[in-house]
Amino acid sequence: MSIQLYITRLKCLVRNKEAMFWCYLFPILLASCFFFAFNNLWKIEYFDTLPIAYVSEGEESESFEQVLEAAETSEGVKMFDIAYCDEVVAKQLLEKGDIEAYIVGSTKPELYVKGSGLNETIIKSYLDTYRQMSVTVTTILKSNPNAIEEGLIDDVMQHDTYIEAVKDDKKPAELLVYFYALLAFSCIFAANWGLDEVVNIQANLSGRGARVSVSSIPKMKLFLCNILAAFTAHFGSLILLFFYMYFIIKVDFGNNLLYLFAVCMVGSFAGLGMGAFIGVWVKKKAEVKEAILTIATLGGAFLSGMMMPDIKYMVATKFPLLSYINPVNLLTDSMYSLYYYDTYERYYTNTLLLGVIAIIFGILAIVGIRRKNYASI
């Protein structure tokens, strides 16, 4: 019987196209947007050769031209596509947008650009390095004229790296924070489903609630079956989102997948509990309940720093209690702690607190649901 109830409720949920869209498709859409929009921010793989012009101004410029021609990115893409011309032509080319910039002079090259975007910055920093290195060479040659024979030029051209990330197998993952936030928000989105479950079962909230209230099924049993069905359907969306991020857009979540699943599961319950709690205890119209829920989840997300990272640190230092009772914050904290810490202490604290909150919400919701009798409604 319970199984029948569970399956029926599951069918109801899956057939609700709107809820399915927000829960299943929307997070995936957002994840794709993050991926497409931010993925390149930290990479220079997609570098395209920049068209520039060079105006020698009659100076001896052969060596500088050679340097420009030889410039390559670390992936071996040629940096500049150079047109040699006089300043009038260069200006016209720049005006038309055929070139990104033009360079004048060779000993102290000057840069003429149209705007101040990324490409201009790349050209400028390349010229800066050239100038700095040529000053180095001049300074050294003054005191040590034999330096050229000692391999000065090769030394100058060589670029060593002196800093590396701590060796704990964690690649810097700038995007990870966004994906964690998305996952956390999807968890807490379960609140909408929790609200729905309560509305569907309470006689004073919906017609269907009134109908099931007169049926012979104990209310608690029905409620638990329904919540379980909602959890199944919602957790399915989390798994789908996770698989999409992990296998399709290849987000590197590290070696903590099981821990991540566990906190998602607790988070999903906390969301359901929160929704149910608001559904039972806010005695207002359905729209008002939904609005309160939205404010609660968005407010929680705001305080946990999803919109502005600084907020999180402000809350953590000024109102520490708030960060311990905000379910969204606990969710993101347990996820971030998987990334930042090698030990699981902080993860356990946060997840446990989240679990406690889920249980408190659940108990309060049940207290509100049980023992409601109506002679007439």
């Binding site: 990324l118 300074t139 040590n144 000692e150 060589q158 790296t161 800093i163 701590v166």
Partner: protein, 390 residues
């Protein structure tokens, strides 16, 4: 003008949603522009809080390195214990931790293998700048060290610092006044974001209204009324246009008021014109959505999905130059891409020469082309709907 009036009656029911978008957008704009520096043209490096854990002890090389780095960072007192260090990073007291391992200086002089290690917050954009600053210092120091072995660490440090001051002179073509170009960059930022708001708000409101007018019963009622089809559509178009213009005027006025470097010039006018063009395209999209969807709930889903999708892909949120080539290829099939591109071109427009303006005009023409294409699809859909029996 019954249709016209009915339009605004339905619009009233969507007003909250539309106004929320207005309020949200203006709030965010004020928040963001409050953060912008007054002299937004001069690039100023923000100093990053950094913790240095020095296991190598003090010596000339490290002292001068650390004093050099002070140009880029603020030092935070190092903490004891691995957990306390991680906590500092976690709560963002610092965004970057440098560990100088034991034997680093000796290894540096002997071209050894020991490197500094870093831990950076995963979303810290400044980390790259610090990486570069560190590499620059040691690379130049290495060259001096190699070829002028008898110089002291202090001398090397002063050489390096003098070297790094060498900067390329950059001339901004057209020599715009700083305040003028700052005004343009504000406008570019403002109107790019506005594109997202236009899409989100228009689909929410206009689509809902069009949906209401295209219900089967409503259409049948219309056929039975003495108002001709042309009259009906005329009133709808007029109502839509007035809504678009009114909505845009709010934003144009707000954008003008919020802009610290406000000025009315060719560029500003072009920004307005471009926003209007894009609003027309969005109007056609909203119309198409309004007459094709089957339920009102689908509209709010589509409004969020379409607006966010378009905004992310076409460079409204992230500048186009940061997007990958394949993404841009796909994006160029959306009108928003050309809207953003036009805004970019308008920002850098310095002369009112025809060649430059014609380029911008072509971007707007492409947007209008999209509008025409979408309207033709909408007409087909609407024709089909008219022939539908139930």
């Amino acid at each position: 003008m019954q249709v016209f009036k009915a339009y605004y009656k339905i619009l009233k029911s969507q007003l909250t949603a539309v106004l929320i978008y207005v309020a949200l957008f203006l709030m965010l704009t004020i928040l963001f522009t409050g953060n912008l520096k007054d002299n937004s043209n001069q690039f100023e490096t923000k100093k990053v809080p950094v913790m240095v854990i020095n296991e190598d002890g003090q010596n000339g090389l490290l002292d001068s390195f650390l004093s050099y780095l002070e140009e880029y960072v603020v030092y935070v007192e190092p903490k004891a214990g691995a957990d306390a260090i991680k906590d500092a990073l976690y709560y963002r007291e610092v965004s970057y931790i440098i560990t100088i391992p034991k034997g680093f200086s000796d290894s540096f002089y002997e071209n050894g293998e020991i490197n500094l290690t870093k831990q950076a917050a995963p979303d810290s954009m400044e980390a790259i700048t610090i990486d570069q600053a560190i590499d620059n210092y040691f690379n130049i120091a290495r060259v001096y060290q190699g070829h002028l072995p008898e110089t002291t660490a202090e001398e090397i440090s002063s050489y390096v610092q003098a070297n790094l001051k060498e900067q390329t002179r950059v001339h901004l073509y057209g020599e715009q006044k700083d305040s003028v170009s700052a005004g343009h960059s504000f406008n570019r930022f403002y109107y790019n974001y506005l594109g997202y708001i236009i899409v989100a708000a228009f689909i929410t409101s206009v689509s809902t209204i069009m949906f209401s007018f295209h219900g089967l019963d409503i259409r049948r009622r219309h056929f039975a009324s003495p108002i001709t089809e042309r009259n009906l559509n005329g009133q709808l178009i007029l109502a839509n246009m007035i809504f678009v213009i009114f909505y845009l005027v709010i934003f144009i006025v707000a954008g003008y008021a919020l802009n610290k470097y406000r000025a009315v010039n060719t560029n500003t006018l072009l920004f307005w014109l471009n926003a209007f063009t894009f609003a027309l395209v969005t109007l056609s999209i909203s119309y198409l959505i309004g007459i094709s969807v089957k339920s009102k709930k689908a509209i709010s889903a589509l409004s969020t999905a379409v607006s966010l999708g378009i905004a992310f892909l076409s460079g409204m949120f992230v500048p186009q130059e940061f997007l990958g080539a394949p993404v841009l290829k796909v994006a160029s099939f959306t009108p928003a891409y050309w809207f953003v591109k036009a805004n970019g071109a308008i920002e850098t427009l310095t002369t009112s020469s025809w060649s430059e303006i014609s380029k911008i005009a072509s971007f707007m023409a492409i947007q209008l082309g999209f509008a025409a294409a979408i309207i033709s699809i909408a007409l087909v859909v609407s024709k089909r709907k008219r022939q539908q029996i139930s």
